[in-house]
Symmetry: C2
Subunit: 300 residues, 2 copies
Amino acid sequence: MTLVVVGSIALDTVETPTACRENVLGGSAVYFSYAASFFAPVHVVGAVGEDWQADFSRMLSERNVDLSGVRQIPGGKTFRWRGKYHANMNDRETLEVHLNVLEQFDPVLPDSYRGCQWLFLGNASPAVQLRVLEQVRAPRLVVADTMDLWINIQHDELRELLRRIDGLVLNDSEARLLADDDNLVRAGRAVQAMGPRFVVIKKGEHGAMLFGERETYVLPAYPTAEVVDPTGAGDSFAGGLLGWLAMQGELTAATWKQALACGVVVASFVVEDFSLDRLRGLTRADIDRRLDEYRRMVTY
Amino acid sequence: MTLVVVGSIALDTVETPTACRENVLGGSAVYFSYAASFFAPVHVVGAVGEDWQADFSRMLSERNVDLSGVRQIPGGKTFRWRGKYHANMNDRETLEVHLNVLEQFDPVLPDSYRGCQWLFLGNASPAVQLRVLEQVRAPRLVVADTMDLWINIQHDELRELLRRIDGLVLNDSEARLLADDDNLVRAGRAVQAMGPRFVVIKKGEHGAMLFGERETYVLPAYPTAEVVDPTGAGDSFAGGLLGWLAMQGELTAATWKQALACGVVVASFVVEDFSLDRLRGLTRADIDRRLDEYRRMVTY
């Protein structure tokens, strides 16, 4: 049930209407792996700089997160992102991006990861994602994330990637952009027609939709009264989803639905504090309690 | 199980990015009653002008909609609304409003309606809604709708109304305005604290949330690939909801959830065409089929 994530490891500076946190742990691989670790062990492939703190490694390793695929680049600095959320806590603007070690990074999977069954390709250029894909042997499920930048500037590579993965996870505005259709249902099906067997559209505070081979699932978000920092919600959602699938080891309709619920619920915790602060204090029992509560809210 | 709706009867002119329909049947009482009629007989209280067509009455009467509480005002013209939807089919602007017969209308319930058990107060001034409330004897459930205009200009009357009804149905931007809080969960609970036992927040294409005495329910919208005209979706949602409750005659958790699903599903049909055009061709069996489909999409 080996689950591997290839993605960014970041130091984020996040401004919200009421607070600001500087250089906190973030990045797609970090949020994904920490979220998935509640359900299954995770192996991370990524790069950090010399500014990486041993505390970060300890925090991740204390859970089921294996960092042996993370390279520390001599003389390099860790990827940094600075963003600002507007009053509605949904819209955000990127104030600064410093790729740093990610600028030249070409992920190399340790030999022991090449036979992985479950693979998540965090947001990166489709060219890089394709090169990762060439290193794995026969994964059961490959899911990728992407973003508007790649839809705009690496469209051909993205279309090539879409023909070679099982699932794509993207947010609503990206789905509209990629499909050139304002209607999310048509957009989801159009993206699916580009190759992936399933497409998950993330709608932030409005939940998510899955377009599968035979099924369509729609899920509301868990109703969160305190949204402190939405950063990482999408990657945590993907982490909860794939973590559950990897643990179950099967892809039935029932597993899928529960996996989506795991994604929703883990993400609902993440947004209640900055960085991984809310997840750090949680046990699997806390997750399970909210999963039960969520199920009562949506199931009838 | 008498269900009464007091609300507007309108001739709408609707512009969408691809089409325009002039003077089609609309209004809160029309959408509510037609939607509810799939589940229970409905009695409408409202006013129309001399421009009202016998065809409209026939169309409503052919279903379970009783129009004996509708007054035709001599020399008057029916309420008219003209609106335009933007490309995303969610945002709209009102281009023209002509109150016409509604300007002086003070609804009087026929004697036979005063003992009604289920009452929906469609969007109207809270002062008018309060006067209707004084005419009913001992209803089991009174639900009202409102809008930003009344939140702004009849705030005191609205607060008085909120203390005297069981439930309020309003859309997300109205909930934020009334509670002065951007977070919908806090806004829903704040509105509930103003009096009603339950508050339903409608989120258009993103579904709805119910804040009840002991429970919170969150429901995604049915994923609709063809949104032709969203006008009336909110009132149809309320119609499906109250129609189901009235038919069941009980207010258990299971009834509530199914009622919310009925609201979601009926509204999902309404937006597939202009006015009541999509609902007109439907049977209860069509509704039930989509209810089953929706249940499979959300329940796990």
